[in-house]
Structures are given as structure tokens and as C-alpha cells.
């Protein structure tokens, strides 16, 4: 996979624009429950975590699928579904620890994030930069500078720090 959807939960304010952008782009409906990215909100503690498909290397959803509709795309590394085979049994939803599989109430199938074919809608609308769509090199760069900052004790000052 050469591009990643990076989630920085520290920057997320739980505004929900990503959910709306996703739902409108994918289903045409302005309903957050139809989105493929969902924010876990804990208002009292101020924890907001956007959760979506992580496109795991050996995805547990694929092994749980009763109809073998979930596969890894060899070209992009994404976890993709053959939706006409899906019977909506929700086994993949139970196997996924990241809430990456969401039930599409309109088509009665389970869907996951597909990075909108390389131009994710949620990233465009994220006002705080909590969601970013960057290449592997950039992602590793961020990891490195964040780790360096942690080790130097200057967390929070370096670009891309995720605390």
C-alpha cells in the first residue's frame, strides 16, 4: 500500500464532518450512521477517535466471512469486498476490533472504507488535520519525528507529533 489514511485522535474535535462527507459521498444521504468512518465520542473526557477500516495485512474480517467476499487487492493493498455476494450476516463486524465494517442499511450489506479510490472525501473536509492521506514515506517520516521528539522530551513541538 503506498498511501495511508492516518488518524491523529489528539487533533480530532468530534465535529463529525468526516462522517457526513463519507455518507453523502457514498450513499447520497446526509446520515452519519451510513458513514464508513465513525467517531467514538467520550465528551466527558474529551476523547474523540475516528475509527475506520485499517486495511490490515491479514484481516480478521476476511477469515470470518462466510461467503468469502472479502479479499486483499494485490495492487493497492486495500481490503475489498465483492458486495453482490454479501448476505449481511455481520460476522466480519464482530471479528473487526476497529469497527471498520459498517452496515449499509440501504443495500443491506456490510461495507468498509475504500479510500474513495485514492481521494478520500473525509480527509478533504477534516478541519483540524486529524485525518490525513499520505504516502508511506511521509507516514514513516512522521513516526520518526514523533519518536525523536518523545525521546528528546519536546513532545508537542515537532511537526506531526501524535503524543
Amino acid at each position: 500500500m503506498n498511501k495511508h489514511l492516518i488518524i491523529d485522535s489528539v487533533k480530532c474535535t468530534g465535529c463529525g464532518l468526516c462522517e457526513l462527507a463519507c455518507a453523502i459521498n457514498k450513499t447520497g444521504q446526509c446520515q452519519p450512521y451510513l458513514a464508513r468512518i465513525k467517531i467514538w465520542r467520550e465528551e466527558t473526557r474529551g476523547i474523540f477517535v475516528p475509527m475506520t477500516c485499517q486495511h490490515c495485512d491479514n484481516p480478521p474480517c476476511a477469515s470470518a466471512c462466510l461467503m468469502n467476499v472479502i479479499t486483499k487487492d494485490p495492487a493497492t493493498g486495500l481490503t475489498i469486498r465483492r458486495l453482490e455476494g454479501c448476505i449481511g450476516c455481520r460476522a466480519c463486524q464482530l471479528a473487526c476490533p476497529f469497527e471498520g465494517c459498517s452496515y449499509d442499511y440501504l443495500q443491506e450489506v456490510i461495507v468498509n472504507c475504500d479510500h474513495c479510490g485514492g481521494n478520500p472525501e473525509c480527509v478533504k473536509y477534516c478541519p483540524t488535520g486529524a485525518l490525513r492521506y499520505i504516502s508511506t514515506a511521509e507516514a514513516l517520516d512522521l513516526e520518526r519525528s514523533a519518536e525523536a521528539a518523545r525521546r528528546c522530551g519536546i513532545a508537542g513541538l515537532v511537526k506531526g507529533d501524535r503524543r
Binding site: I47, N68, Q93, L94, A95, P97, E99
Partner: protein, 416 residues
């Protein structure tokens, strides 16, 4: 060149074949199976009865997919004997030589020895052929014997398609291997509300009728019906293997080690026909579930190719759709833990009911009725054997919690 022969064409067999092909593009693969059909999903068979899933949708592969993947098929062939010294498989029509053999023979539905069980109108639900037979029979009044997941799904499917359905279960609650009594009672109430008669604690004594099924007699009553569907359990297809000297375990499945090897060199086994180790207890178990079979197929294939890979153990995960209400069971149930000390965390929130079983401060099972966020997180905590005290400590600290934020939805189920 060495070849690999796979007996079977179910979840385990196909996942083994696909894994071999993914890692080795050249090794010849031969698949042998009794049914002359491409791979289909056995789990969706009841959905096909109700018409929710089209018959053609059941098939995961087409027959032409096999040659495309470089797999030779010998479908419609029943292996009668395995010669482990010469390494050949013997059937009535031909013999097939193998260098390495993967047994994925699966299981078959059993009909207990009850008088009248060969009358017209007795069915099981295990193969596409069974479904075709039931659809062609045009049932009106049906008795489903046994209430495992297949029994419940078939009862629901037939009720939806307009039949009058009665479920007869020997144990005191329905779904005895999958749910505890309390959630089973709730599911039972959903079924009764829709007009399915649920009889528990009753044993079927005989089936009577003139050529066709007319009455089912249990130890409490007799029920007039025209169809009996047996969902009373399965038996592992191990006869041919066991005659060839493959060792069986005490539960009746083929005994394998964690690399899916049997006691005979060059023979691997996976899927319904084996006894695997339960991930949570470490005891042997017969796991008859699709995801476990697929994983075992992968492990057998990798070891067959010489990559050492150990199976992490089987874990049960069952999702039932009962009239649009999702009922989920994962891990173990309290009946399986009768001799252990367990704690039960139970709760109800509007339409959602949950029950978490905790042993030694670790989640060992969970059952819910109604779908919710956070079930995947509980499953992950259960598989990781995370102590609950540790989970609560991390979840209570905002900085730590943020680092494992995907576990937070599990909190609501794990409050004391």
C-alpha cells in the same frame, strides 16, 4: 514434481488450495470431492430456503475457477481407500497418486436411530442437494428436530416461506451449545412471537406415516406434520482416514498437532473432520465453524509447503439473524464452564441485552441479543486474554486510553 492432493471441497479445502497457490505457483494441486459442485457456503443454506439468498448466490466459485487457478479437479469421485505406504488414493473409477495429502472431508448431518426415519419427508440441511430436495417437496407443516444454529435458521426460513413450524429440542433450552439459558429464553420468545412453536426438554420417539411422514411422536405429545427436518448434530467424515491408520482423538475427529499434521507422515487434516485445540481452554474441541475451518486450511497448506506455522486455536463466533435481530455468541458458554468459577456481567439497554462471562479476570465468553458497537473490541480483548483489571486501568487513564482507543467501545459491557 511433487503434487498435493486435497480431499474435500468445503471451506477448509478451498482455503488450503488458495493458500498453496498464493505461495507456490507451480506445485500441482488436485482436489477430490464427492459432490460435483463448485465451492458453496454451507452457512447460507437456510437463507436460501427462505429465498433471502438466491441459489446461484450460494456458490463462492465457479467450476471454471479451478482450472484458472491451476487446480485439477476430480469432483463426483468418492475415495474408498487410502494406501499410505504407496501414497495413492483408491476409488472405484481411478487411483490418484499423492506426495502430500490434505484431508478436509468435513462432516455429515446425522439422523438418530428413530423408527420411521427413512419415510419420505425426512430431511437434513447440510448440502445444496438437501436444499433442492426440501424446496421440491413443498412442505406445509414442519417439525425441526434439534435447535442448534442450523435448526433455528431453518425453522425461521420455513416459517417465513409460509410453513407451520415446530421446534423440538432435547435439552431444556434452545441453542444449547451456543447460548446460556437466559439469552436462549429471549430468543425462544422472539420465535414464539412469530408463531413458531418451541418445545424443549422433549425427545422424539418415533415418526409414523404411510410412506410419507404424518406424525412425530415425542415423549409428551404427538404432532401432525408432513416434513421432519433433522438438525440434531453432525458426525465427522473420518472412516476412510481411520481405516488407513490415521489416529482419531477422543471426541471422534482426526487428531492433529498444532501444525495440522496427523500421525502419518505427509498427511495433513483440517476443517470439520479434525479435533482442534480451543483457544481459550486449551482442551480439544470439535469446532464446526466456517472461520475456524478456513484458518485451519491455511495452516495445513503452509505447513504442507514447508513453512512452519502453528494454529492459534479455535474460537467460536456465531452470529444469528433472528427475524432481523442479531444474536451473537463468542467464546464459551457457562454450560461448558460448569466446574469453573465464573463471574457473569449482565446488562440491558433498550433493545440490547448482553452477558459477559469472566474467568480468572479474563473474558471467556460473550453473548448479546441486538447489534451494537464494541463487540469486535470485546472479541479482541478475549482473544488477547487481556486481564479485565488491566483493561479498566488503561481505559480510566485518558492518555493511555487514547493510545488503545479502539478498545473503548467495549467499556459499556465490562462495567461491574
Amino acid at each position: 514434481m511433487k503434487n498435493i492432493v486435497i480431499i474435500g471441497n468445503g471451506a477448509a479445502a478451498n482455503s488450503a488450495a488458495e493458500t498453496i497457490r498464493k505461495h507456490d505457483l507451480e506445485v500441482p494441486i488436485v482436489m477430490v470431492a464427492r459432490e460435483n459442485l463448485p465451492e458453496y457456503s454451507a452457512c447460507a443454506l437456510p437463507d436460501c430456503l427462505s429465498g433471502w439468498v438466491d441459489r446461484s448466490q450460494l456458490f463462492i466459485k465457479q467450476l471454471t475457477d479451478y482450472p484458472q487457478m491451476g487446480i485439477q479437479t476430480r469432483f463426483g469421485l468418492e475415495i474408498k481407500q487410502i494406501d499410505t505406504r504407496e501414497r495413492i488414493l483408491i476409488s472405484d473409477q481411478e487411483t490418484i497418486a499423492y506426495d502430500q495429502l490434505i484431508l478436509a472431508t468435513g462432516s455429515r448431518a446425522i439422523i438418530p436411530p428413530v423408527p420411521g426415519r427413512d419415510l419420505l419427508g425426512n430431511f437434513v440441511v447440510k448440502t445444496v442437494g438437501d436444499i433442492d430436495a426440501i424446496l421440491a417437496y413443498k412442505a406445509r407443516k414442519v417439525v425441526v428436530v434439534g435447535s442448534g444454529n442450523i435448526g433455528i435458521e431453518v425453522a425461521e426460513a420455513l416459517q417465513i416461506s409460509g410453513c407451520q413450524v415446530t421446534i423440538v429440542e432435547l435439552m431444556e433450552a434452545i441453542l444449547p451449545r451456543i447460548f446460556d439459558q437466559e439469552p436462549a429464553g429471549r430468543i425462544s420468545r422472539i420465535l414464539s412471537d412469530r408463531g413458531i412453536q418451541v418445545l424443549t426438554g422433549e425427545r422424539v420417539l418415533k415418526i409414523s406415516g404411510d410412506q410419507r411422514v404424518e406424525t412425530v411422536t415425542t415423549d409428551c405429545r404427538s404432532i401432525a406434520c408432513d416434513t421432519v427436518i433433522w438438525a440434531a448434530g453432525v458426525k465427522q467424515n473420518v472412516e476412510v482416514a481411520s481405516a488407513a491408520g490415521v489416529k482419531l482423538g477422543e471426541l471422534g475427529g482426526i487428531e492433529v498437532n498444532s501444525r495440522m499434521q496427523t500421525n502419518i507422515d505427509g498427511i495433513y487434516a483440517c476443517g470439520d473432520c479434525i479435533e482442534s485445540i480451543d483457544m481459550l481452554t486449551g482442551y480439544p474441541t470439535l469446532s464446526l465453524l466456517w472461520p475456524n475451518a478456513k484458518r485451519q486450511g491455511q495452516i495445513a497448506a503452509l505447513n504442507c509447503l514447508g513453512q512452519e506455522m502453528a494454529y492459534e486455536g479455535a474460537v467460536s463466533l456465531v452470529a444469528e439473524d433472528i427475524y432481523g435481530i442479531t444474536a451473537v455468541s463468542m467464546g464459551l458458554i457457562s454450560r461448558a464452564l460448569a466446574r469453573e468459577e465464573i463471574r457473569v456481567l449482565e446488562g440491558q439497554d433498550n433493545e440490547l441485552y448482553w452477558r459477559v462471562l469472566v474467568m480468572d479476570d479474563r473474558i471467556i465468553g460473550m453473548q448479546t441479543i441486538g447489534m451494537s458497537y464494541g463487540l469486535g473490541a470485546v472479541m479482541a480483548l478475549m482473544k488477547n486474554r487481556t486481564p479485565l483489571s488491566e483493561f479498566h486501568r488503561v481505559a480510566a487513564d485518558p492518555d493511555l486510553a487514547r493510545r488503545v482507543a479502539w478498545y473503548l467501545p467495549a467499556q459499556r459491557f465490562l462495567q461491574e
